[in-house]
Symmetry: C2
Subunit: 467 residues, 2 copies
Amino acid sequence: MSDTGRIPPRELEAELVAALREDQFSRAPADLAKYATDQGPVTDYREPAAVVWAETVEDVQAVVRLAARHGVPVVARGAGTGVSGGAHATEGCLVLSLERMDNILELNPDDEIARVEPGVVNAELNAAAAVHGLMYAPDPASYQVSTIGGNIATNAGGLRCAKYGVTRDAVLALDVVLADGSLIHTGHRTFKGVAGYDLTSLFVGSEGTLGIVVGATVRLKYLPTDIRTLAVFFADVQSAAAGVLALGKARLQPCILELLDGPSLKELDARNGSNLAGRGTALLLAQFDSLAAAREAEIATAALEGQGGKVSQEDPEEAARLVDLRRRNRGLDVDSEITVGEDVAVPRSALIHYITALEEMAARHGVGVRIIAHAGDGNLHPTFWVPVPDRAGVAAMNAALDESIDKALELGGTITGEHGIGQYKLRWLALEQSEQVLQLQRNLKALFDPRGTLNPGKGIPAARRLD
Amino acid sequence: MSDTGRIPPRELEAELVAALREDQFSRAPADLAKYATDQGPVTDYREPAAVVWAETVEDVQAVVRLAARHGVPVVARGAGTGVSGGAHATEGCLVLSLERMDNILELNPDDEIARVEPGVVNAELNAAAAVHGLMYAPDPASYQVSTIGGNIATNAGGLRCAKYGVTRDAVLALDVVLADGSLIHTGHRTFKGVAGYDLTSLFVGSEGTLGIVVGATVRLKYLPTDIRTLAVFFADVQSAAAGVLALGKARLQPCILELLDGPSLKELDARNGSNLAGRGTALLLAQFDSLAAAREAEIATAALEGQGGKVSQEDPEEAARLVDLRRRNRGLDVDSEITVGEDVAVPRSALIHYITALEEMAARHGVGVRIIAHAGDGNLHPTFWVPVPDRAGVAAMNAALDESIDKALELGGTITGEHGIGQYKLRWLALEQSEQVLQLQRNLKALFDPRGTLNPGKGIPAARRLD
């Protein structure tokens, strides 16, 4: 990435301003600061040279072409709600915001698809789909502000993934601007299609490093008409995790299955004035949304009571409030040097063991931990924090973090269930993937982006020289 | 592909026999003929130089390494039930059969996954999973004989995809032998995982052209406990297609939704002694398998009667018989010069229009057509045939075939919903994908297989020289 660290030449600025309107370009310090980071931990703060707001596909092509010609990196972003630093600026880059490309181009209820620009907010697509009894299923906690383009760049997960799958499962086709500014179309408008290599899946989750998604055709699902929500409190978090396996054994597929440990309940109570911790030490929030939701809730109640759970079926308002509380678990917090939310996934049978190990390692390192999990997917978000914010505390937290990653891998897990590698998780990727697999990905990166201008330094460890 | 067309040197044979056991290698004419083709149309019959049966990952690695050293193409195959010629031999190639690698390495009911060798037969995995109340959902019509490795190579679909997704959606991780004989592992054992580029999806459906799948971790789903099946007869096939949209509007998700037109019903009757054609002109076979299956069948009945359907709920035995009849629609037929089964997909709203167009174009060209469809996915299998098998008839059929492809694309469809490009559909790929997208795939092929020894001439149009 020899081009990073270079201030874009004045000619580039002049060319950009000529190619776009004046209000699509900024070097104002406030904008540079605002667009310097996403919500991931910042380990190496850099400001962009400029921020550019694309409004059309042609804008994106023009920006990418100009940047390529001048050897300036381009960091594309949607709402900047990513939490792995995938949209952090690199020195001297252009941040290319897609948030103004926010049109739903088509919503076809018979075909059960939508075509959207990348800046469409997840919740807005859902609102438009709901009119037709449809929904866009992937629902990252940030869904009220995050964009479909950003969701695609990170292959975002969410609560409803337990039943409906992740972003990749919802994406049928993409329009992508490549590193040379050309535009390609991948995939198909149909539900099924196997013509050629699966380029669509290759771009999904590639964090803007292989190309910039400027349009997407997504599959919609049926909006449920009957929803039953169980709040199940347990005496300890291990029993709650056992409840997850019990639901599996009962062959029930909840649409939402969230686990919250005691410290998480207390944190939510403190923030929201609720009294969850008073009801139990750990909470399993299970939602069923099929036409047989009532029957599923009945079977689930028996299964969870069998694990010692105190089950209450919540009315729709309270259920919505609980799910919303869970979604806002992160609150407005941005990860910092003294608080880091993790995102590992383990095979479901390892949940109990892993949670116990997390508690043990936090205690041993003298740092705090609270755990929430998309438990149906074995996807955990432990948040580690430093009680006393000094250098020793930060070192202890990082040691606990590293250990939590090692343990997840030891149990057959992954270092990122849904947040992506971005910048922050690069340091752990080689623990999960072999050097050969890493090199294969570097080769792919070099094939798609030979000059390394698309979001350099993200997603895969730094390029080595190709043989 | 300058290496094709060359007989493998005697040294290669000697080295193969030395690396494997004697009964893992054959040049017997009967074997060469048997392994020369899959079930796709044969337009250019070629025999392999030899057939090799791998029994271990190391066998595959040894064969690929030796073939690479001698510049001999390797065509990997499972049961050879593909219908696009993806496993047809190329001149002088080694056919590498994986059918002896048929061990289920692990089946973990708590994690809801299985690890399998590529030669495991789909039905055998399902039988093993059923013991635990689980199933491997993707069910190509060939599921009783086809292998998981072959299913992965073609990203096979099937009947249950309407609800459960295609092969890609079931594959979590892969072991792949690359063109240089090295072994890599992609993906994750967990349900979710976003570390690095999605190499797993890139290999799924790549027809053995990027690497050879020698192991897979797949996700299992819950075996349904209540199944309701409706046989719905309509006065014409267009009304049956309208029924598909009516079920969508009723927001019902059947696990199977198959459409059969009048000629298909007559063909089945003639083969199986059934009397389907006596019950109506077109059949919609709808199966529901959720806990609310009875209620879903009730709602579906009302919706389909609203479209003029004559609905009968079938008892489990008759339902199983009907689904089985549908699966065996192809019978033991192999596509030939005078009968070709197609595999296009269109957006669901285009189903009625497309079916009408197919009937019209067959009549105009003076050829026969019968249509079955995985209608829930908009995935149609029209079979064209020549009433009088002469040169003019074959030309007319090919003209109708070409037109059926053009029309599907015009309606926003794809040239292959689930069968793959293989060899037979290469001639149409450039109608669907731009030259730039094709070139991108050639570049990917060159990256993974620089010498072009892995299943050359399949999946993507012939390589042009890279710039």
